[in-house]
Structure formats: C-alpha cells, structure tokens
Symmetry: C2
C-alpha cells in the first residue's frame, strides 16, 4: 500500500517504514543483529545448488516468502557443464542489486522520481591466480567497474549524489571493498 | 565425456583439461585476462532484475549456454516486497558455490571420491550500519561462518586439506576476505 503525497516521488520504497525501523532499532540495538544464510549442495563436477530461505533478525527467525534457489557452475571453457552462473558472477549480481536498491531508497528519501536505473558491472580477473600459475596474482577481481545509466527527475549532481550515498550505505559494497573474516569448519562424515 | 581410469575417483571434474589450461595459460598469460559481467535493471522499490550472459576470456568474448537471470529485493520485514533474495545473500551463494566447486576439483586432482558435500553459510550483520544508526558499525558482515558436511572416501585430515586448498584458490573467498577496488561511474540521462 502506498500513501505518498501527490507531489511526492514514488519509487516504491516505503521510506517512512525504514525511518521508523531506524528509530526503533536505535532504542533496541539487539534487534539489529541479523544473520543471513545460504545452504549449498554439491551436484556434480563444479555444479552446485544453493538455497536461501531463512534468516535471523529483529530478535527472531525470519523467512522469505519462498525459497530462492540458485545453480552455480563453471563455464564450458573451463571444461565444465555451465549449469549456472559462475560463483564470481553471483558476487557481481549482489553488488549491482545492493547499490540499485540503495539508489531507489535514497531517491525516495530525497523526493527524486526515478524513471529508469540500469547498471552494468564488470570485474577484471587474471585467472593465473586461481590456476596457481603466479602466486603474486590474486584469486579474486583485480578491480570492479560499475556503470550506472540513470534517468531521473533531477539534476546531474543530485543523481550522482544518490549513487554516492547508496555506496556509503551499501552492505555488499562494503563486503567487496573491505576485508571480512571468514571461518570455515569441516565435519567429515567418513574420517 | 568422462575417461577416468577404473580405479580413479570421479567427481565429474575434468582435471586433465584444467591442467592443460594451466599449461597453455602459463605460455600465454594474456589469455588469462578475464572480465566477468552482470547487468542490473531496477524494477520497483528495492526490487531489481539482473542477468549474466557474456564474459571475456581466452582473448575473446565468451557466452554462457544461456542467460541466467536473478531477482533481488529486500525482505518484508524491511517493508519491501521480497521479490528475490537479498543482495547480501547473493554474496553468500557465491562464496559457498565457489568453495564447493573448488572442493570437487581438488578432490578430483587428489583422487578422492566425494559422496556428498553440503555447506551452510551464515553471515552476521549488525544493521545499525546500513541504517546509519552507528557510524562505527560496518555496513557489511561482521563475519561469515561456513560449515561443511562432507562424505568422502578419505581420512578426516585429507578431507580437511581439500577444504583448505579450495579456500586457498577460491576467487570469491579472496573477494570477501580481501579488499577490492570498486569504481562507480554515473551517466545521468536527465541532468
């Protein structure tokens, strides 16, 4: 349900609810502790099937409306079956969708009507890293370039400011640009 | 087509082709320069639709067998429509699928038969960061825990070594645990 004023931009983001959430969580920071999850099952070769359904937040277990399922694989030029997007492409989808959601939310908050927002994301990778050819080459991206084409009812500098603010508050932008500690545990069944 | 020896493990990974690729790329490092891509289009609110299809590598444009499409959104508790997985969940899918593909490839190379590989990934996030409540709280994950349950024809330490080697060569593990430079360009249509 949307209840914006007639002279307000409507990007479909319920900013009032987000501001309310911010106020509520300022008073109850323990409710702001979230856990996001995915489950992954190996199928064959480099093909795996992942699902996303439950997460934790606001002090209790939460659920998506449905289970989201994703196949990942390596492409045929890596002698694989190409049964899904390559894992690194999932990261690019996460980055683009996080920044795009942020742009819509910030635009709503600033009363800027968006007409269209399109992004292309490109990550350079020297695969001498993952192939173990050169120890000085990293496994991940050398760098990532995101290009936005935005049609909005605003001046150029205001559109640029939207994107800058989205970067500043983007979870995935932070994950990609800053280090995160990852702990990997193994439970062998047959050891 | 699989042509493994009768006494060889078969995890469906063509390791011979990967070793051949490593040899070829050692002689022609320019062919190892890849570009991975995603395109993202804003739909409404925090909902976006992304596609993955083309990439660049081995000195030319490459294509997946088909276009992979992904919807991303925020969940209902964020007053959004939950039309897809949350962007940060895409990162977890990328991480789990990258490590899992690596485990299968390393196991093949070490002649270890995998029976099942399942992972759960959980990323902690204090959303006081993305909500701008506390500037000292980061936007991304505080930390990520990956738990593998692996049933394989190998000793416990050999199974653990598989996972350790996969981490060492994983592109997404590197992206998450180390910083990557991201450049964001904006082309406003109406400025």
């Amino acid at each position: 349900m949307r209840h914006w004023e007639a002279n307000m931009a409507d990007n479909g983001v319920n900013v009032a609810a987000l501001i309310e959430a911010r106020e509520a969580l300022t008073k109850a920071p323990e409710a702001a502790q979230f856990k996001w999850r995915a489950a992954c099952e190996w199928k064959d070769g480099t093909h795996s099937h992942s699902t996303v359904e439950g997460f934790y937040g606001l002090g209790q277990e939460q659920h998506h409306k449905k289970t989201f399922a994703f196949d990942a694989d390596h492409p045929e030029i890596f002698a694989a079956a190409d049964q899904g997007a390559t894992p690194v492409e999932y990261v690019l989808v996460g980055l683009a969708s996080c920044l795009t959601a942020g742009i819509a939310a910030v635009a709503q908050n600033r009363n800027i009507q968006l007409r269209s927002v399109k992004a292309t994301v490109e990550g350079d990778m020297d695969i001498q890293g993952i192939l173990g050819i050169d120890e000085d080459v990293r496994n991940g991206f050398g760098g990532i370039k995101v290009t936005y084409n935005i049609d909005a009812d605003a001046k150029r500098e205001d559109i640029e400011a939207l994107v800058a603010q989205s970067q500043k508050r983007s979870a995935v932008f932070d994950v990609v640009t800053n280090p995160t500690n990852v702990t990997v545990l193994v439970n062998p069944k047959n050891g």
